[in-house]
């Protein structure tokens, strides 16, 4: 059984239908990429998976580890291993990155029936993971994302991913606004976490990221529907021909 199974998913925001019947099945250990032009519904799919209440699911279902994901509150999804790397990570003034992450990790560990990490264990863990994703250690004590550059914010998302170790990681345009070095670091962070248990859904506008995070499958999302699926070569094809062809097909 797939780790994540999306069946005929319809979703709207403020009354406008954005997702018009998505079918997608992601097996454990696989990396799927979703590509599509602006406004095709990529971020809506990410937000629906995270449980953002501003998006209404109007049809279809989502099964995650055999459970109805739509029945779970956002924090329950997170504790059960669904992680969203945000396109625009928010700032939380006055709350240190470390404090925030400790609250998150302990909530997740508690859900899993594990004991909370003590201060020393936790500090050791985050130092090690920060190093792995080349996050400047000084950012650990700074307020969450406050005053971070665009690149630092994205790196911080990958850092959180590395600490929280989810089962199903969704990365929403993690590559946007990154220079090539930052892009490689982010990709290295993701690649280091690929294993037989964990799955990734990488959402991107550009093929560039997929040179570094090589997907097992690529899906093209246009106008709220997946219009084509294939292997990594599909991304390259898109890079050459653009979305125009698919947009016509979808229209």
């Amino acid at each position: 059984m797939a780790l994540l199974e999306i069946r005929n998913l319809h979703a709207s925001v403020e009354g406008a239908e954005i997702l018009k019947g998505i079918d997608l099945s992601i097996e454990a250990g696989r990396v799927h990429a979703i590509m599509g032009p602006n406004g095709s519904g990529k971020s809506t799919l990410a937000k629906v998976l995270a449980g953002d209440e501003r998006y209404q699911v109007t049809g279809g279902e989502i099964l995650y580890r055999g459970k109805n994901l739509l029945d779970l509150a956002p924090e329950e999804r997170a504790r059960d291993g669904v992680f969203l790397g945000f396109q625009y990570p928010v700032e939380i003034p006055g709350v240190s990155n470390t404090y925030f992450l400790k609250a998150a990790l302990n909530a997740i560990r508690k859900y899993r029936g594990e004991s909370e990490l003590d201060a020393m264990e936790f500090l050791q863990l985050i130092r090690e993971r920060a190093k792995a994703v080349k996050l400047d250690e000084s950012l650990l004590q700074r307020p969450v994302n406050e005053g971070f550059s665009g690149g630092e914010k994205k790196r911080n998302e990958i850092f959180q991913l590395a600490v929280l170790e989810p089962m199903m990681a969704i990365l929403d345009e993690t590559d946007s606004g990154l220079d090539i070095d930052a892009l490689k670091t982010v990709a290295d962070g993701v690649n280091a976490m690929r294993d037989a248990e964990r799955a990734f859904l990488v959402i991107t506008h550009y093929q560039r990221l997929l040179n570094y995070i090589v997907p097992d499958e690529v899906h093209v999302l246009v106008n709220g529907r997946i219009v084509k699926s294939g292997g990594k070569e599909l991304a390259e094809e898109l890079e050459r021909s653009g979305y125009a062809l698919f947009e016509e097909a979808a229209a």
């Binding site: 953002d52 956002p74 924090e75 939380i92 709350v95 925030f100 998150a104």
Partner: protein, 482 residues
């Protein structure tokens, strides 16, 4: 129904009986204010003649004053003749005999705030015998303070034991005709705290009202006076995080602080008076005058307040920076929810040379709460090189609350440097979702975000108080989002 109310009802049902004021044996006077009532209070407290005269003078001035109406708050008229201005503390046999006798809801809040058992008993007004342990703790603290020459007692006791000190400083920072409510307080105050720190002494502990014995039921017109002599230091904690209920709706306290050369006073308040029900009915009106005088050179007065209670708050802890190089600070977190209204802020009056002041105000409004920051920074012609930094941040939760800022700046010396920053933010759905998506529940997310917002203020509180204040905010803002 409490003993006091019962007595009042009995008195009322008997109707007016002339001559009641001369009956010193009585524990309570019927509602109403007159010179006779003031004479009664003063006689009951066995006060010296000068204090009675001082009260009467305040009363006469009060009669000529009108209630201020400039604050951004709304309430019905207050009938000052309907208030009873004197009642004796409850007798032990009328008090709850143990914590089992108090409202389980209040007990639950005590537990969640992590308040130790003996303090819970004191707060709940459990009969003194039952809290014997805590009283003896307080007594041993008192001994320790006495060794250092520190005076820490109720105002009534100070009037009896140290009349010369009280007479020297009472009303020197907040004159009896300062404002309508201060004048009323001066006329009818019943009790409060008195602190005197002698020259060169650093008070070895946080002075907290917990440890003050014989001070139960200080009443609605509390009067506090703190004097720090040259090069002394004191940190004073007022109030507590536990919910405080009171049958008196109007509270008009006065707090005066005097810091002489090189002295420092740190005054921290956590105010959690009953805010009324969801519609604001029955909540406390808290109209307080708090002012510190940095009288000496290099003196420093620091106010920190966490205000979560009361239906209406009208409060501006201020610093008069008269000594050269003196420093004034004001750190405030105020929360209004349901129908609460708060008009609060500070005044920094720079008079000495090289005086500095800092204002950090954090206002959180939820539900249908209305909150205003009102602050004055005044630099008089003599205050060369004065500096002020003000930061006023407001956070809104929901879309039916209000936040307002009224900063007044009055600079009469060209060398002054004044900075004012203000922000208004809303707890964003995006912030909540971000926390949720990392496994953090909405309740924890709100408390995380709010505590982050208030961090600059909380870190100025004494450690234990800070932890309690954080929990208090959590409990107060529960269910405010989502």
């Amino acid at each position: 129904m409490s003993a006091t109310t019962k007595t009042l009802d009995e008195l009322n049902s008997r109707g007016y009986e002339a001559g009641f004021v001369t009956d010193i044996e009585q524990d309570t006077v019927p509602p109403g204010l007159s010179e006779d009532v003031i004479r009664f209070i003063s006689a009951k407290k066995e006060e010296p003649e000068w204090l009675l005269e001082w009260r009467l003078e305040a009363y006469r001035k009060w009669l000529e004053m009108t209630e201020p109406n400039w604050a951004h708050v709304r309430h019905g008229p207050i009938d000052f003749q309907a208030i009873s201005y004197f009642s004796q503390p409850k007798r032990d046999e009328d008090a709850p005999q143990s914590l089992d006798d108090i409202d389980p809801k209040i007990k639950d809040t005590y537990d969640r705030l992590g308040i130790p058992l003996h303090e819970q008993q004191m707060l709940a007004g459990v009969a003194v015998d039952a809290v014997f342990d805590s009283v003896s703790v307080a007594t041993s603290y008192k001994e320790k303070l006495k060794e250092k020459g520190i005076v820490f007692c109720s105002m009534s006791e100070a009037v009896r034991e140290h009349p010369e000190l009280v007479r020297k400083y009472l009303g020197t920072v907040v004159p009896s005709n300062d404002n309508f409510f201060a004048a009323l307080n001066s006329a009818v105050f019943t009790d409060g705290s008195f602190v005197f720190i002698p020259k060169g002494v650093r008070c070895p502990m946080e002075l907290s009202t917990y440890f003050r014995i014989n001070a139960a039921n200080t009443g609605q017109f509390e009067r506090t006076l703190i004097v720090a002599e040259d090069a002394s230091y004191v940190s004073y904690l007022e109030g507590c995080t536990a919910p405080m209920r009171d049958e008196n709706q109007l509270h008009a306290a006065v707090v005066e602080l005097v810091a002489l050369d090189d002295a420092q006073i740190k005054y921290s308040t956590v105010q959690n008076w009953y805010p009324g029900d969801e519609e604001g009915r029955g909540g406390i009106y808290n109209f307080v005058t708090k002012r510190g005088l940095c009288k000496g050179r290099n003196s420093k007065i620091s106010w920190t307040q966490v205000e979560t209670g009361s239906a209406i708050t009208w409060k501006y802890p201020s610093c008069v920076l008269r000594g050269d190089n003196s420093v004034g600070e004001f750190y405030s977190v105020a929360v209004t929810r349901a129908r609460q209204q708060a008009d609060t802020g500070t005044k920094m009056i720079h008079m000495g040379k090289n005086t500095r002041s800092t204002i950090v105000s954090k206002g959180i409004s939820a539900g249908r709460g209305e909150q205003s920051y009102r602050g004055l920074v005044r630099v008089t012609p003599t205050a060369s090189n004065a500096r002020n930094y003000s930061q006023c941040d407001s956070m809104l939760m929901g879309d039916q609350c209000g936040a307002h800022t009224f900063p007044y700046i009055d600079v009469q010396n060209p060398t002054a440097q004044i900075e004012h920053e203000a922000t208004t933010s809303k707890i964003g759905e995006d912030q909540i979702l971000y926390c949720n998506q990392r496994g953090i529940s909405t309740e924890d997310a709100v408390s995380l975000i709010v505590n982050g917002f208030c961090k600059e203020v909380f870190r100025t509180l004494p450690m234990e108080f800070a932890v309690e204040a954080q929990k208090l905010l959590e409990i107060t803002l529960e269910d405010s989002v989502g």
